[in-house]
Symmetry: C2
């Protein structure tokens, strides 16, 4: 029997086939779950739309499922929370093959098996184009959640991972640049493509930080899903501080500038987005301890300041930068452009 | 200044304008909330897609917001839970006027102000057509959740409200039938249209049942969002029982048969959907007490049986029906048709 479409299967049969991917308790109007004692609930929602956030050209069904889960789990990690479950609102054209939807659920489950959490049901609807709205629920020990507004002046800004690799992987997949000009090995190309297809929420960094400090609950954090610059700007805006980022310390993926030039590499590192890494503002000793404990790539990229601007400075001495480039939220990625 | 589109405003400005509709704590990667002590978490997700679940022809922006919230809150009510908050994943074309999105949020907020809960943030994305994926979170006293699988044979099936009114309202809005043939007052037309536009989750029935019985946590319940027949069939399927519904006791809206004929009125009552009422299976004395306490319209429509079929019988004596019509889940509303 060939691959049937959702229209051929009908809703009842689709739901029956999705049941094995879901927590046992799924099947009522809602799911009932107990929260671990002493924990607060953490809730986040992210939508991935076909043609905007993904296309068949760039991700397989399983990659898409993984990315949908990872994008939401990364938000939980940024709050210092551990995942409990997700709900999946899938809107799909009736012509969608069952094997594709099953692939998405396999990817969702693979990501949850890696990082924790179950599929707690959701909703399935016919729609003109495919999209997945995921809500992830997590738990954090009460008073141990991380917020954006906690940064103070003269803290050190630390980021996990390199930034711009997911953007580079997308460029490779979309063949934005002639691949004949690609100066690196196939392995490096695959590494960047994997950064786009299989982002890894940084629960490891959260676990390490918890181990390193008794004052975990005081840390300012955010994930870099909308770009590194955006994360720094949001933290600064909420905290009423500014920042100086050292251009030489930006976490540009090794070899990226050789391929696209330093200007575009810097652009992708600051604004590329979808790296799903974490940005922290920490006291200097804790920042050093985190970098040491996590190992490369995790690096200090600058410091917070009393002055409210977020500046990109060129000197290795952060205070000596002249004519710094000022970053603003308007420059960072926006779903709805402005005129 | 005229009405700006989302593209003209840009994402930052849209989020700034939506902030007043949201709980104060919104603005991080996720929202952190404490669950009331002794309560379990209840989670449900529902999507409304333009052209499938709503159109500009049938609902205003505010009605749409109300319906989005009510559809999800009705699922919480069916579980015996009270609402805490919702997340809103809005996917919208860039040409969407701001005033329309603001209207949707006004409707969402109006429904939550009426029934409880706050807007706990969400996500905003560009998309080819409009849709809203809402996740509602609620709380229920531990071990007091209502489930579909709890029905036992020889219980009484009770439904709140009339069924088919929302479908009749939709028919009026879509002018499926010539309005010149409408045999009733404008007030009745408006009542049915309101049933479609402003469904009311039946938290009142839940509160009444809680007051009437110490064994609240043993009740089988489901909301009738996908139709009355679907709700009875799902409860029976999960509980391993059947049912006999008395055709004469179906909660057909008064006057509906005069307009569309008894056959179509029966069809809409059983399969119309989106009435967002509740279906319970109860011991006989509790069923009577509920009907008395809630007042009309709340009525007994039949009983559960050991035999697994769900039958529509014609006799007022439930056991005497001959050649009964057998209902199946395949007849009830499906988002993806089957071949």
């Amino acid at each position: 029997m060939g691959d049937l479409t959702l229209a051929q299967l009908g809703e009842l049969e689709i739901l029956r086939r999705l049941q094995p991917f879901c927590a046992e308790a799924v099947g009522d109007d809602a799911i009932v779950q107990d929260l671990p004692i002493g924990k607060s609930l953490v809730v986040t929602t992210d939508v991935l739309v076909e043609g905007i956030h993904f296309s068949e050209q760039t991700v397989s069904a399983e990659d898409l499922g993984w990315r949908c889960a990872a994008a939401n789990l990364s938000d939980l990690a940024a709050m210092g929370a551990m995942p409990l479950g997700i709900t999946v609102a899938a809107s799909l054209p009736p012509s969608t093959p069952w094997s594709w939807l099953e692939g998405v659920y396999r990817g969702l489950r693979a990501c949850l098996e890696r990082y924790g959490g179950q599929i707690w049901g959701g909703d399935l609807s016919r729609a003109p184009s495919a999209q997945f709205a995921i809500t992830a629920l997590g738990a954090v020990a009460t008073d141990q959640a991380l917020y954006r507004h906690r940064a103070q002046a003269d803290q050190v800004i630390v980021v996990t991972g390199v930034h711009g690799a997911a953007r580079a992987g997308l460029a490779l997949l979309l063949q934005e640049k002639a691949l004949t000009d690609f100066p690196h090995s196939q392995a490096r190309a695959e590494q960047w493509i994997l950064a786009h297809r299989r982002p890894q929420p940084r629960f490891d960094a959260i676990a390490t930080l918890k181990r390193l400090t008794p004052e975990f609950g005081q840390i300012a954090a955010m994930d870099s899903s909308d770009g590194l610059a955006n994360a720094v700007l949001q933290i600064c805006d909420r905290s009423g501080v500014g920042a100086e980022l050292n251009r030489a310390w930006l976490p540009i993926p090794a070899g990226l500038a050789d391929w696209v030039g330093l200007d575009l590499a810097t652009q992708w590192t600051l604004y590329g987005g979808e790296d799903f890494e974490l940005v922290f503002c920490l006291p200097w000793p804790l920042a050093q301890a985190l970098v040491k404990a996590l190992g490369s790539p995790c690096q200090i990229i600058g410091k917070t300041t009393l002055a409210p601007e977020v500046k990109l400075v060129d000197s290795t001495e952060l205070d000596l930068g002249s004519n710094p480039q000022i970053l603003t939220l308007r420059d960072s990625y926006q779903h709805f452009g402005h005129t």
